[in-house]
């Protein structure tokens, strides 16, 4: 599909390892590359509509609606809010739609741009065709912290880009020269729900939603992508809401289509899916989690087969089913964790779909990989450090205060607070020990 990513290296790799490992591809562009206006479009072959629709099973109506809302070439638009659960394809559909339309767009994600300054500077860098490289010690083209500065710089940069685009549209046909079409620029803001956790969210969110009115430039289109629904963004100053576009979770049939794509032995995989899809769907319907679980399970499923290309008949299906059956129950209870290093190179696409929720299990995995010896006292120190970082300061004060409790109100509040939790510090300690596998 889109850009390929170099295989991720785990945190434990040293710098010399990553430098010498020839398996890592070099990044797409050499250091001295200067971006131009062609970079505002997707840098790959444009897609036809049929390819676009067929590569996203179950998303036909959403793609068509998005195309309708974006409208024909050079037609102004109202801001759009694309929302839906995680891994429902919002970002990929939006990007592929822009690839199909071949229009210039600026993409910024609020996960990588985790503060307003970084967000503003990333957008300005893309608009002013500035690439951070070692020559300028990785600085942005302009320092921009406040929304007022951002609006001024954005206006100038947009006007430059738009005159550039208007000049180009008169010349050679864009299909041949690889230039993006049209005289409109689209700004795509991804992962908008992260902004709610920022410090300055009370000023940045209203600013972004009102950006259309503030800029007053009909040649700019705004698209917001969010994991949470629009009612989580209600602000007390109000704004004319963007047009919502909802991406529902995939149904079981869609999941079947998705997993059947790119399978070498489709009939074998179909029989596998018949067995596992329904029980796993009761637990989760997210594609990334299911993919991680199915890949390992499918290996177990096809273990007894000597010939992997065979299409199974009823007898074989029944035998395979009885072989896999005990494993399903245990696989359901395993969390959908991403494999560690040895399988990493084969399954790079699963790595990128790892969500932040697997950090709990990630810790477990990392501790599995400790290969140096720790003395018992060091382990106790580690446990106490962990506990000390988890306990709130008031609890520490009340438990370890040597003169007895200083404030009786504090004690009452703490007791009530902890009673509901059904655990004492001792239980927490035991739990931690279990959890760390000691």
């Amino acid at each position: 599909m889109a850009t390929e990513e170099s295989p991720q290296v785990t945190r434990r790799a040293t710098r010399s390892y990553s430098a010498s490992n020839t398996a890592i591809e070099s990044t797409n562009l050499p250091e001295s590359y200067k971006p131009t206006i062609n970079d505002l479009g997707f840098r790959q072959q444009p897609l036809r509509l049929e390819d676009l629709l067929s590569s996203f099973p179950g998303r036909r109506s959403q793609i068509l609606e998005l195309l309708r809302l974006l409208g024909p070439l050079n037609s102004p638009m109202f801001p759009i809010l694309v929302y839906g659960g995680p891994s429902t394809g919002k970002t990929s559909v939006t990007l592929q739609v822009f690839r199909h339309l071949n229009r210039p767009f600026i993409y910024s994600s609020c996960i990588t741009c985790y503060s307003p300054r970084i967000l503003f500077e990333s957008i300005l860098n893309q608009l002013l065709f500035h690439r951070k490289d070692s020559g300028h010690s990785y600085s942005s083209v302009k320092r921009c912290e406040r929304p007022s500065d951002f609006v001024n710089y954005l206006r100038e940069a947009l006007e430059n880009v738009l005159t550039n685009l208007k000049g180009n549209s008169g010349k050679v046909s864009s299909k041949m020269s690889g230039r993006p079409d049209g005289t409109m620029v689209y700004l795509v803001f991804d992962n908008l729900e992260r902004i709610r956790d920022w410090d300055k969210s009370s000023t940045i969110l209203p600013f972004l939603f009102n950006l259309n009115d503030i800029l007053k430039m009909p040649e700019v289109g705004l698209i917001f992508i969010s994991n949470t629904s629009p009612d989580t963004y209600y602000l007390n100053i109000g704004y004319v809401e963007p047009i919502p576009l909802y991406f529902p979770d995939y149904t079981e049939d869609d999941l079947r289509h998705i997993f059947m794509a790119n399978q070498t032995n489709s009939r074998l995989y179909a029989s596998f899916l018949d067995v596992v899809l329904r029980p796993f769907c009761r637990v989760t319907r997210q594609v990334d989690e299911l993919a991680a679980a199915f890949s390992s399970l499918f290996k177990k499923y096809s273990e007894p087969l000597s010939d992997k290309e065979v299409a199974p008949n009823e007898e074989m299906k029944r035998r395979l089913f009885s072989h896999i059956r005990p494993h399903i129950a245990s696989a359901l209870n395993e969390t959908f964790q991403v494999r560690s290093q040895p399988l990493l190179k084969a399954e790079t696409n699963e790595e990128t779909k790892k969500t932040n929720s697997s950090r709990m299990l990630g810790i477990r995995e990392d501790f599995d990989k400790i290969d140096f010896h720790m003395s018992t006292s060091a382990k106790y120190l580690l446990i106490s450090a962990f506990l000390a970082s988890r306990n709130p300061a008031t609890l520490d004060a009340s438990l370890f205060d040597s003169t007895g409790v200083s404030d009786s109100r504090k004690r009452k509040r703490n007791c009530a607070y902890w009673k509901n939790f059904k655990y004492s510090p001792r239980a927490c300690y035991n739990l931690t020990l279990e959890y760390m596998g000691i």
Binding site: P72, M77, D213, P218, V240, P248, V283, N333, E334, F336
Partner: protein, 421 residues
């Protein structure tokens, strides 16, 4: 084949025309401002008298969001700039961006410099900028040039110490200055937010922008959506389009639809957005607007996000929500992941359900619920603790949960039974 392509091209052109009209506030609000007692004429009268009689003035434009305050103001200003090209200069500030005094004065200085082709220095301090502004006001007053300050989102300027407002209004009190301050806000009580000294210097002139009447709205819709006869589109296509549009607008069902929409969102801005959506759904092969387009647009605006979220949940997540509901019924005010798990286990023990999963799988489901905002943490103070120990609460009512469970495909019957207990 060729005819179809031609027809599509025509409809595309018509679509483009309609979309650009709907996105252009000037076009939208001009017909509404034609009558002599409209806000447009009142505003124009006030500003033009201040310009011609060389006096200071201040005015507030109030109205709900989308009622066209800034659009009408821009119309007035563009007309006046044509009428008196040398006598007016406009400074525009926005409360979302410039509520900080330093920022605001810097922006004022920058716009003044741009207007009069002076060199703007980015390192000028607050005092320099304010002295510059006062000097410019004096000079413009002596040259009989009026400076119009447009303060958008006025309620943001009224937060904090209101230094900027005070210095602006104070500078206007001097004999030489000629300035008009126009505040635009969505809060109808914004003048109550002003400090006493600021309010005393502010003239209590207010213009209220209310939504137009029903007949005006209908006339407005027809005017906006009809294709003009003198455009580059062929005459018979335009005539047929307009004819069908008229028939559609007089249809009872269409009127009902518009009434339903307007009962929630009654400003022109919202109506325009609705029309934009409906126009975008126009079928290009047919080339005409149909009732179906408007129906789709209405249904996409009438979503129920929480029910959609519930429909997207997996069965395990439904179990967890039902467990939390039961805990609430049992008068437990706050619960965390472990209490929900004990409840889950007790349900499994008493009913022997087949859906019993281990703790870590349930934790993933729990975090998914947090992400969808169906549950949330009670307070933000427990960042040190992990997700399992922090107390949470359900963000949907039991009626919504019940409705969601009923509309869920293949919902286990046990859950409905548990909810009914």
């Amino acid at each position: 084949m060729g005819r179809e392509k031609e027809k599509e091209k025509l409809s595309e052109k018509a679509l483009n025309l309609l979309r650009s009209r709907l996105s252009d506030p000037n076009f939208i609000f001009r017909p509404l401002s034609d009558s002599p007692d409209s806000n447009y004429s009142k505003l124009k009268f006030i500003i033009s008298t201040s310009v011609t009689e060389a006096c200071n003035n201040s005015i507030l434009l109030l109205g709900p969001r989308g009622s066209g305050k800034v659009a009408v103001l821009e119309l007035v200003l563009s007309d006046l700039l044509q009428q008196y090209p040398e006598a007016i200069s406009v400074i525009r500030l926005n409360g979302l961006l410039h509520s900080d005094d330093n920022c605001a004065l810097k922006e004022i200085a920058r716009q003044l410099c741009m207007e009069h082709q002076l060199l703007f220095s980015k390192v000028a301090s607050f005092d320099d900028n304010s002295q510059f502004m006062i000097a410019m006001l004096r000079e413009c007053g002596l040259a009989h040039k009026t400076i119009i300050f447009v303060l958008d989102e006025f309620d943001f300027f009224a937060q904090g110490k209101q230094r900027l407002l005070y210095s602006l209004l104070d500078a206007m009190q001097s004999v030489n200055s000629q300035a008009v301050v126009i505040g635009v806000s969505c809060r109808l009580d914004v003048d109550q937010l002003l400090e006493k000294r600021v309010r005393s210097r502010f003239s209590h002139r207010k213009l209220l922008f209310l939504s137009p009447s029903k007949e005006d709205t209908e006339r407005f819709i027809e005017h906006i959506l009809s294709l003009p006869m003198d455009s580059s589109l062929p005459h018979n296509y335009t005539a047929e389009f307009n004819g069908r549009l008229k028939k559609l607008l007089s249809d009872e069902r269409f009127k009902e639809l518009i009434d339903t929409y307007l009962s929630f969102n009654f400003t022109i801005g919202h109506l325009v957005r609705f029309l934009f959506q409906a126009v975008s759904y126009m079928d290009l092969s047919a080339g005409f607007l149909s009732l179906g387009n408007f129906k789709t647009a209405l249904s996409s605006n009438q979503r129920q996000p929480k029910l959609e979220c519930i429909r997207d949940c997996s069965v395990l997540e439904l179990y967890m929500m039902v467990c939390m509901k039961r805990l609430e019924v049992k008068e437990q005010a706050s619960y965390n992941f472990y209490s929900v798990m004990t409840e889950y286990k007790s349900i499994h023990d008493s009913f022997q359900t087949s859906d019993y999963y281990a703790a870590n799988v349930c934790l993933r489901a729990f975090e998914h619920l947090l992400q969808c905002q169906l549950i949330s943490f009670i307070d933000n103070k427990g960042h040190n603790q992990s997700v399992e120990f922090r107390p949470v609460k359900l963000l949907i009512s039991s009626a919504e949960l019940h409705q969601g469970l009923k509309s869920y495909q293949q919902c286990p019957a046990i859950l409905l039974k548990l909810m009914d207990r």
